[in-house]
Symmetry: C2
Subunit: 404 residues, 2 copies
């Protein structure tokens, strides 16, 4: 039997961080790399763009030829070539000449600016230029994005559209990414059944199966789901088997801060329970162990408590196991109502954002899933703060910003 001692949220996070497994890497097709985490420094293979490019459809010119010209005083240039996209001109542009050019095409030798097509018209075989351009106007200079050898992407960055775009631009059609951690999830509880038309007697629907599975997915990790009745021997066998194949385990249920709870007791017997209980509401019975060198996160059986514990502790840990971290996008809002809290305890209060205001939900029970569905954010009341007054500014964490 394990005695529990509640520890502050920050301490719990520190302990977890020190137990995480360093991720290994794999090489994958860049086509399939969206949402993966870059694992190496990416240095460009070449300059980008590799040449001065026209930024407009129009005419490549010597800017000097246009100086002082306007709608009322156009200048005439001889068109000596035409460059479509994907082509380049062999002609060297001379004074008094223009070369028609498409957006993105390389600026021809001799030219230093582009006149937009809109400011020209053809007359008697000559192009009439009705504007003055400065050297470099409408030209994207070579290397304006990056030079050969530049670090274009650091490791630990999620490959979102701009990151994929720059890795491609640097010449790579593959990416080296951190492997997705494989997470074994054991939902415990003899009373749990999968969704069906009617529940009988003491049966309760195993909603945690769906919640925790998708939460692991939302962290870019790969969950495998298991169920166990409340039996220490069965659970021990399951732990032993899964710890061989998975990078971490998550359990729900069996963590109550009472005499002898099956999951925590099994963890205590098999490895080291590093803490049992945190100063958090909801989610107090959150427990963490290291067994066979692997992290084991033990969540409550109550759906809301389990989700909050996941958001506060597991999410960040699964990110770190893939080599990245997300800066939480907390915002300040004024509370529509007073919220009670206790010194020494961190509160995550389900709430809804309403413009500059945030409204704490009246529902408190940690089994009430509806409260998570009807809220869109947590009000976070830190442990050194004794609640929030009506109209007081407080820190709000929108659910939407939790996802990787």
């Amino acid at each position: 039997m394990l005695l529990s001692k509640f520890i502050p949220v920050a301490n719990a996070k520190k302990i977890i961080s020190s137990c995480l497994i360093k991720p290994s890497t794999e090489d994958i097709d860049l086509e399939k790399a969206y949402g993966r985490v870059n694992a190496v420094e990416v240095h460009s293979k070449f300059d980008s763009p590799p040449f001065n490019r026209s930024a407009m459809d129009g005419y490549a010119v010597m800017a000097e030829d246009t100086f002082g010209h306007s709608v009322n005083n156009p200048t005439q240039l001889i068109v000596v070539d035409s460059i479509i996209a994907g082509a380049q001109s062999k002609v060297k542009l001379k004074k008094g000449e223009a070369i028609q050019i498409a957006t993105g095409a390389p600026l021809p030798d001799g030219a230093n600016a582009v006149v937009m097509e809109e400011h020209t018209y053809l007359e008697e075989g000559l192009i009439q230029v009705e504007t003055s351009v400065f050297p470099g106007e409408n030209v994207s200079p070579a290397c304006e994005d990056f030079h050969k050898g530049d670090l274009v992407l650091d490791k630990g960055k999620i490959l979102n559209p701009p990151e994929l775009s720059i890795v491609a631009s640097a010449g790579f059609d593959h990416a080296t990414v951190f492997k997705k951690p494989k997470i074994g999830v054991i939902i415990t509880g003899s009373e749990l059944v999968m969704p069906k038309n009617g529940v009988e007697g003491p049966e309760v629907i195993n909603s945690n199966h769906f919640a925790i599975k998708s939460m692991v997915e939302s962290c870019l990790a790969v969950p495998e789901m298991f169920h166990s009745v409340d039996d220490a021997n069965l659970l021990k066998d399951m732990f032993n088997n899964l710890l061989k194949d998975y990078d971490a385990l998550i359990t729900t249920g069996g963590t109550a801060i009472s005499k002898g709870d099956v999951v925590v007791d099994v963890a205590d017997e098999m490895g080291e329970v590093l803490f049992h209980g945190v100063s958090l509401r909801p989610g107090k019975p959150f427990t963490f162990a290291q067994i066979h060198g692997k992290p084991v996160f033990m969540l409550s059986g109550f759906p809301v408590a389990a989700m909050v514990q996941f958001d506060v502790f597991v999410r960040d840990a699964l990110h770190k196991m893939q080599g990245f971290q997300i800066k939480p996008l907390t915002v300040q809002k004024k509370a529509t109502h007073k919220i009670a809290s206790s010194l020494g305890r961190t509160d995550y209060v389900r709430a809804t954002i309403e413009g500059d205001l945030v409204r704490p939900l009246k529902i408190k029970g940690s089994g009430i899933i509806r409260s998570m569905v009807e809220s869109d954010s947590y009000i976070i009341i830190p442990e050194n703060q004794e609640g929030v007054f009506e109209g007081e500014n407080c820190w709000v964490l929108p659910y939407q910003s939790l996802k990787a």
Copy 2:
């Protein structure tokens, strides 16, 4: 040839909205439903929880038996049964009796409260209760989450963990969701090549292939990628083929506001170009058409312009095609620097959030992918505002909050 007229961003959005195709639905396994969009009203099959449950490990009692008792004045009760999770008691509790009960188990008949195990000890076959509980204490009442028939989830909601959890709790192992729209993406440009070790002559890496593919994926839609050289006939064939199979098309390139640009001209010939050019920077040449009754989004070839146009116009449209909308999570921050803008034009300025401040990037070019990688948000300067002063509050849209 199509004459262009820039229209305000809001008008463009309205026009697009009126052309979107209503999504059809499909029935899928709830196990695979994370991130999908719920397409029907979900009403519960039963009460949840279906019975009064113990919220703690401890002893079910009549609260009245404990009134006035404490550590210094415990009361003794006879333990007449034990209920583990997943079981229920056939015993009806009488005055002076207690039944041991596990968290989540149904409260036995006759009991109206639970004493936590920590507040009891066994002595000479009796349980000593060292506390007083009120009726309902440590009990999760039946139906506290929802009643049979209650609407637990409305249509148009993304199936995130809490939503999956409540749908399961309501008795469903399947979900009816909107089909993911199939999006044909045509990257145009004769100069474009896929990533490789060295680029030659006028070649430019097709970075938009990776950016737009992953942006469509980030909207929960399914992209299929194509490439076309700048040839009107080839493009027309491609449009004709793809419009049969896909719910919408996206193109990049060939939209320049000049005389005769291939993509826009083809769209104009085949269907109705509803606008060509918006008062947006970057991203002015954004064009939208309806062809064979389907929406066609025409983005710039410049990577940054294309990404901004996608974020401003296409993202929301792809969401609506799946029956949902995301409320953008804009925050107010003080600008570290003055930002110039013009009345009548909406600016999306790449920026980085630094606590309460936001720093606009110095980089302006719409071909500079690095500027998207190095920024984390847009400062949005609305069309009725002439720039932002140093230290002035402005609206900031973090990239992180754009994803569905």
